[in-house]
Structures are given as structure tokens and as C-alpha cells.
């Protein structure tokens, strides 16, 4: 039998605990402290920062700024995904109420759904029995909750896409700059080599 519980309704798993394998601090003086919302782990942020920094290997201060930005934007994407998941979880009773309104007679669906959400055993029994009889699972609740909150979810999605685009833009800009520096070095090297070679 399918059991539908209030805590089982989420859109995706959001991992916030990143193993602290690399030691580095985002509180790197001139770039200012990490900007975290209450409840967010500064260790997880620092770990993400260290991992990105280790991959990019910034060569100067401008690249340090980009590393910081990429970290901030990656963190923002993760935060928005977490908010979306929490929104779905916090509004699950709306999906249950909508499903019950189609499956049962009477007009107390919203009350039953709220009691189910609060963990009331009797309400959970009603919800589970009704859903089992109709062959529905927790996915139906997720789908109906999403349909109830589609405007908010769409807005969060748009903000997530904007942050991802911005992050990718930073990486492109970093790549473009490195290509320019490499080209400059290539042009300058013959002259430097000629000057340092006394027999030339």
C-alpha cells in the first residue's frame, strides 16, 4: 500500500553538506565576507569556494574576483533549489486537498489535508485509504501541489536560470581573458628570449 506522508513530498534532494576536503576561506579580506542566509553553513560555503578555487587556480586578483562570483552564484542556485523544495513541502497539504476534492464527497477536504499535514493519525488514515483506493502515490500530491503553486515555482525557476547563466558568463569571461593573456605572452616571448640570449 502506498503511504503518503507530509515529509515525503519534495521536488529534489538538495545537498547542503559538502565534505570539507580543502582548506580555504571565503572571508578573504578585500572581497568581503561570505553572504549567507541564517541557517546556511559557512563551512559548506568555504568548502565550495575552496573546490572552485582549486579547479580555476586564479592567477591574479581579477580571477580571484571571478572565483568568488562563481562560488556566490553556485551557492545562489543551490539556495533557490532548496527554496523550491521547501515550498513544495510546505504546500503539500494544498495538493492533498485538491486530490481529496476529486476523490471524496463532502466539503472538509482542506481541513483533512491540514490535519494530515500536521501529522494527525486519523487524517493520515483517510488520505492513505483514499489514495490507495484510487491507485495514487506521493507523485500525485507533488504534481497537484505544483499545479497549485506553479506561478511561484516558475519565478524561482527563472531566477535559478538567471543565476546559472550569470555563473556560466563569468567562466566564459575568465576563459576569454586567459586566451588573451596567452596570446600576449606568445607575442612577447620571442623578444624576451632574444634579449636574454647573449649569443643571439
Amino acid at each position: 500500500m502506498n503511504t503518503v506522508t507530509a515529509n515525503s513530498v519534495t521536488t529534489s534532494t538538495v545537498t547542503t553538506s559538502i565534505p570539507n576536503t580543502l582548506a580555504a576561506s571565503s572571508d578573504s579580506g578585500v572581497l568581503g565576507p561570505a553572504i549567507l542566509v541564517a541557517g546556511e553553513s559557512s563551512e559548506a560555503y568555504d568548502s565550495l569556494f575552496a573546490r572552485i578555487r582549486a579547479v580555476v587556480e586564479p592567477a591574479d586578483m581579477l580571477e580571484e574576483i571571478w572565483v568568488r562570483d562563481v562560488t556566490d552564484l553556485a551557492w545562489e542556485v543551490s539556495r533557490l533549489r532548496r527554496i523550491k523544495a521547501h515550498l513544495m513541502q510546505a504546500c503539500a497539504h494544498e495538493g492533498v486537498a485538491k486530490a481529496l476534492s476529486h476523490l471524496r464527497t463532502g466539503n472538509n477536504h482542506y481541513i483533512v489535508a491540514r490535519h494530515w499535514f500536521a501529522g494527525d493519525a486519523e487524517a493520515a488514515q483517510i488520505v492513505n485509504t483514499t489514495f490507495a483506493a484510487a491507485g495514487l502515490t506521493v507523485d500525485a500530491v507533488t504534481a497537484l501541489t505544483m499545479s497549485e503553486r506553479i506561478d511561484e515555482i516558475e519565478r524561482i525557476e527563472l531566477m535559478t536560470i538567471a543565476a546559472e547563466r550569470r555563473r556560466d558568463g563569468m567562466l566564459r569571461e575568465l576563459e576569454r581573458r586567459r586566451e588573451n593573456i596567452a596570446a600576449k605572452l606568445q607575442r612577447a616571448l620571442p623578444a624576451v628570449e632574444a634579449a636574454s640570449d647573449p649569443q643571439a
Partner: protein, 174 residues
Amino acid sequence: MTSEKKRRANRRNARKCTGPRTAAGKARSARNALRHGLARPARLEARLVQAIGELARVIAGEGASPDRRAHAVRIAAAHVEIMRMRQVKRDLYSRSLNCDKLASQLEKLDRYERRALARRKRAMREFDAVPEGEAGLNGFGKTKPYLLVHQETSRRALDRSAYPADQPRRCAQQ
């Protein structure tokens, strides 16, 4: 229609309320139209000037040309504005608004961040286009290498209070 007596009373009352009179009252009402202050350039805020100066010095490196230093200041100012914006966003998340209101406020703020990012990107490209010191290669000329400057500056790391959004923001209408 308003009677003559009422009109006279209104004029008498109006004379009593002609706006703030004390310096504190005037200073407060001068901020009535202020929403978030994000349109104001960071370089005009006294508490951010130090942060901009420190960052610009690290970006340009010691012994940089005035032209290069000027571009570094522009990069630093734009970066501090971006950080200021992110702090305002952080405050919005912390204020537990309903989802609809939060999303609409974040969308409104986003354009300020977009503009500051564009300004910084432009300033970075211009900075890179300026010839660097006498030797022309990063860290090999008269310009002090980035890592040395960065280490020195990190020792004097800025206090968190240098960034304004760590302090509670007040409603302008108070």
C-alpha cells in the same frame, strides 16, 4: 462647500505644520523617498570608500600607473556594489516574506546587480587593455606581484562592519 470659518482654521493649522524644523527632522525627511539606496554609487558612501580603496590597490598592484589605478578603482567600486546588492538580497531572504512578495522584490533588485556586473566586466576589459608597468608582463615589472600585495592586504583584512548590510537597515519613513 467649505465655510469661511473652516478655511481660516485650516490655514491656521497648516501654518503650524510646515515640515520638519530641527536638523534631525530635516535629515530624516530627506530620506523619505529613499527605497533601498542601491542606485547610489558605492563610491559616494563614506563607509564603502575604504573597502573600494583597499580592493583597488590589490587589483592594480603597487607602483601601477595612474591610468591602471583609475581602472582598478572602477572595478573595485562595481564589485563593492555587487556585494552590497547581494547583502540586500540576503536580508530579503531573512525577512521571511511570502514567496510571491519575495520573488517580486528579488526580480526588482536583479537589474541593479545586472548593471553593476556589466560595469565591472567593462572595467575589467579596459583594465586589461592598459599597458602594465614598464616590463609589460604581470608580476615581472616595477608593479609589485599580485600575491605579495594580496598577502599584505589580507593581514589588514577588512572588518565585516565595512559592509553596510551587516547592520540592520531602517525603514526610511520612520
